[in-house]
């Protein structure tokens, strides 16, 4: 066997060692970064969830006006917690559309009756397909989308009261 080849295992180990030590020295990241910011909303068309309110399609987000896209469900407790914030956003003139994930019309109607209804449109995503395409890993999540259908901000988890102003700013800036 070649003499040089005998040192190959040590060289490989040294490489692994360098990789591992760099991973150890680098501080861990605690914030989940959005992979969707700067990307267009994927193409989708969802049927209506409740009677009297239209369903939702990607075309809605390309009509020149920035909007919020809220991913929620009636079975989701943090969604109840964020409902007042969504109502405040609506009062501030921010149009909000929603995707209801793995839900039924009656359950959503009940949810809206109990927690208020900030939504212009609600699409029914019964198998989480659009949710997956949006890169959303849970409910609730909210996307700020500019008038051309590009995502400018993603809020993971429920919107807290102190975030409302920040979101209003982001929507204004996206105009």
């Amino acid at each position: 066997m070649k003499r040089v080849a005998l040192w190959a295992p040590l060289a490989i180990f040294a490489l692994v060692f360098v990789v591992v030590i760099s991973g150890l020295v680098k501080p861990g990241e605690t914030v989940v970064r959005s992979a969707m910011v700067g990307k267009p909303v994927p193409d989708f068309a969802l049927p209506a969830m409740v009677p009297g309110k239209p369903g939702l399609s990607a075309a809605t987000f390309r009509q020149g006006q920035p909007r919020l896209l809220n991913v929620f469900a009636s079975w989701c407790v943090p969604c109840i917690a964020e409902a007042p914030q969504l109502l405040r956003l609506k009062a501030a003139g921010v149009p909000i559309d929603a995707i209801a994930v793995r839900d039924t019309g009656t359950a959503i109607a009940g949810f809206l009756a109990r927690n208020g209804d900030p939504y212009a449109r609600i699409g029914s995503d019964s198998a989480s397909r659009v949710q997956m395409a949006l890169g959303s890993s849970g409910v609730p999540e909210t996307f700020v989308v500019d008038g051309r259908g590009i995502v400018v901000k993603q809020i993971i988890g429920d919107i807290r009261p102190e975030q409302v102003d920040e979101i209003v700013q982001a929507v204004r800036a996206a105009r």
Partner: protein
């Protein structure tokens, strides 16, 4: 006093490890046999002292001594005794102490039982074992002292993670660690043989039983861990490609390769350098696994504490041991005479193919496990999951199964291709028959190939017994047959589970039935239950299949210390599979979520694992008996 006695035992054990190293070095460098002779007893006492420290720690946990920091942080006086006992290693410091204890005991066992290895090589081996032990004693004493006191003492402890409060904790970590750390013996043997340049069949025969023991424990530990995760986590999965599962799989793959290459070295004096390399790699994988788990560099259910300082300490040890051994390998192995060569179509050839394929799988798992760290250093966050591992390692594993079927039917040294195919006729026939039958239920490519090959392997693995006098067949041949059969059984279980599992998620009121697989499941009602240190909502499920009726009780369990809830699944095992039920949350309308799985033949996975370990045990007994007989014969001659 118990804690102080434990700490003293650890310090003494560390000092003895230093002494052991010094005496082994002097004995070898100066050729002083009188000094070398003392290495064995020192190794034995060192092992006993580390065991004493472990026993004292267990005692502290059993007594719920709340003046000890580790007990306060990880135990609670209201816990059942079994979890106080096993809780001793359900935390970082305790598990590292268990690691060191097994290391010390393994060294002691080598000192007591090893009689076949050349005395000089044995001294070097025990010296190497002492080097490893020293580093880990230092780690425990300087950065992870399990006996640290807490002043003032706490009124009670914080409790143990409820997921760990399961009889599995009593068996899974000790068996797995015995496997991990047992491989240190193979590592030390390799280092010892490099130091004395004594790599040959005698060395291989001496090393083989130690590798086998470690491998048996590793197999059992992985099997137990897989079943534990399966029923405890409530996801119905049995392998998640979690970094820590990979950390246990990698040493197993290396040890399996080593087990086979050491046979070539023992029987035919081939693969000298490769076998030594594998012995180094196998334990290196154990240490890398320990590092990945203990440093918190990867996120995992097994990472007890995120502590970069401890990570750096283990990493330094890793660099010294693995780097040192690889450097020694590079410097010395050139002076080891090349072994004999052989024909590609031969038993040796089959074993080389086995080794190459195992190494490729090992490489894939290693790359998949480390890739997130590499990506993170370039600022990309990602995780590598089942889609990668299944696609990359699956096909190679199936190829390995094909080689495994043929291997035992090959002759040593040289074989005829045509004759091999004739001998393989029956297994190939079984594979083709299974493949054609399965076409009608098409389970997907991987599962289809898996099930067909499992059928072929099952036939091929018993083929070595064909036309042999079964009473004169050596025990280790039975061992091989059963271990290979175990792989076939396990593979069939995996493929069947991935292809035919049925899952339903329903929300039901009491009295409403749901269907999954051949079962009709009806929720009779929900009632509260009280346990030792938990309370639960327990569902009563009437389960009907044909004319058979049974009752299952899945629970939603709440623990007070620490406040957590767990889903306790209820499983019904039938001959042809398992019904797996999990109780979920209630909704506002009085309906309860039930998650139901029907998993055909899933139990074969773990049954196969047990068979593999059993094969290893038979092989071990057979090999040790034969060694002893030849030794006795040599003494009488």
């Amino acid at each position: 006093m118990i804690a102080e006695a434990g700490l003293a035992a650890l310090w003494f054990a560390g000092a003895l490890a230093a002494l052991q190293l010094a005496m082994a070095a002097i004995g070898i460098a100066r050729n002083r046999d009188d000094v070398s002779a003392a290495v064995r007893p020192v190794a034995i006492v060192q092992g006993l002292l580390s065991a004493l420290a472990m026993i004292l720690l267990i005692w502290l946990f059993l007594r719920s001594d709340m003046s000890v920091k580790l007990v306060v942080e990880n135990s609670h006086s209201a816990k059942p005794w079994l979890y106080k006992f096993a809780g001793a290693w359900g935390n970082h410091e305790g598990s590292m102490l268990l690691w060191v204890t097994i290391l010390g005991l393994a060294g002691g066992a080598v000192a007591i039982f090893e009689r076949t290895l050349a005395e000089r090589t044995l001294t070097a081996t025990l010296g190497a074992q002492a080097v490893i032990a020293l580093g880990f004693y230092a780690f425990l004493l300087f950065s992870s002292n399990p006996f640290a006191r807490l002043s003032p003492a706490a009124p009670d402890g914080l409790g143990l993670n409820p997921l760990l409060q399961d009889p599995g904790l009593a068996f899974h970590p000790p068996t797995l660690y015995a496997g991990y750390v047992g491989l240190s013996v193979a590592f030390s043997f390799a280092v010892g043989a490099l130091v004395t340049r004594d790599v040959g069949p005698a060395f291989a025969r001496a090393m083989r039983p130690w590798v086998l023991i470690a491998w048996i424990f590793l197999t059992l530990g992985i099997t137990a861990g897989s079943y534990w995760a399966y029923y405890e986590l409530g996801w119905g999965g049995w392998w998640f490609w979690d970094p820590v599962e990979n950390a246990s799989l990698m040493p197993w793959l290396a040890a399996t390769a080593l087990l086979h290459s050491v046979t070539v070295l023992a029987t035919r004096d081939g693969l000298r350098a490769w076998t030594v390399m594998l012995a180094v790699v196998a334990f290196s994988m154990s240490m890398i696994g320990t590092f990945l788990v203990r440093s918190g560099i990867l996120t995992s259910v097994h990472a007890f504490a995120v502590d970069p300082e401890r990570g750096a300490f283990i990493l330094a040890l890793l660099a010294i041991y693995i780097g040192g051994a690889l450097a020694l390998f590079a410097a010395r192995i050139g002076t080891v005479r090349a072994g004999t060569t052989f024909d590609p179509v031969s038993r040796e050839g089959g074993l080389v193919a086995n080794n190459l394929l195992l190494s490729v799988i090992l490489g894939i798992v290693l790359i998949g496990t480390l890739y997130p760290i590499v990506a993170a250093s370039f600022g990309v966050q990602l995780s590598v999951g089942p889609p990668f591992f299944n696609k990359a390692a699956g096909p190679i594993a199936l190829l390995l199964v094909a080689v495994m079927a043929a291997g035992p039917l090959l002759r040593w040294r040289r074989d005829e291709g045509r004759a091999v195919i004739a001998r393989m006729a029956l297994p190939i026939g079984a594979t083709v028959a299974a493949a054609i039958t399965l076409m009608f239920v098409w389970p997907g490519v991987l599962a289809w190939a898996g099930l067909s090959l499992a059928a072929g392997l099952a036939v091929a693995s018993v083929a070595p017994l064909w036309k042999r006098n079964l009473r004169r067949t050596p025990l280790f041949t039975y061992g091989m047959v059963i271990a290979h059969l175990g792989i076939a059984v396990s593979l069939a279980g995996m493929a069947s589970d991935s292809a035919f599992t049925q899952e339903t998620l329903v929300a039901v009121r009491a009295g409403e039935p749901a269907r999954v697989g051949p079962y009709q499941v009806t929720l009779d009602g929900i009632s509260p239950v009280i346990g030792d240190n938990w309370s639960a909502l327990e569902a009563r499920l009437s389960v009907v299949r044909g004319t058979q009726a049974r009752v299952l009780h899945p629970q939603l369990r709440f623990f007070a210390n620490p406040p957590t809830s767990t889903n306790e699944s209820a499983i019904l095992t039938a001959l042809d599979g398992q019904l797996y039920t999990v109780l979920g949350q209630p909704d506002a309308q009085g309906r309860w979520q039930l998650r139901l799985w029907w998993k055909p033949f899933v139990t074969l996975i773990w049954f196969g694992g047990v068979l593999i370990a059993l094969g290893g045990m038979l092989s071990l007994i057979g090999r040790v008996r034969r060694e002893r007989r030849t030794m006795l014969r040599a003494e009488w001659a």
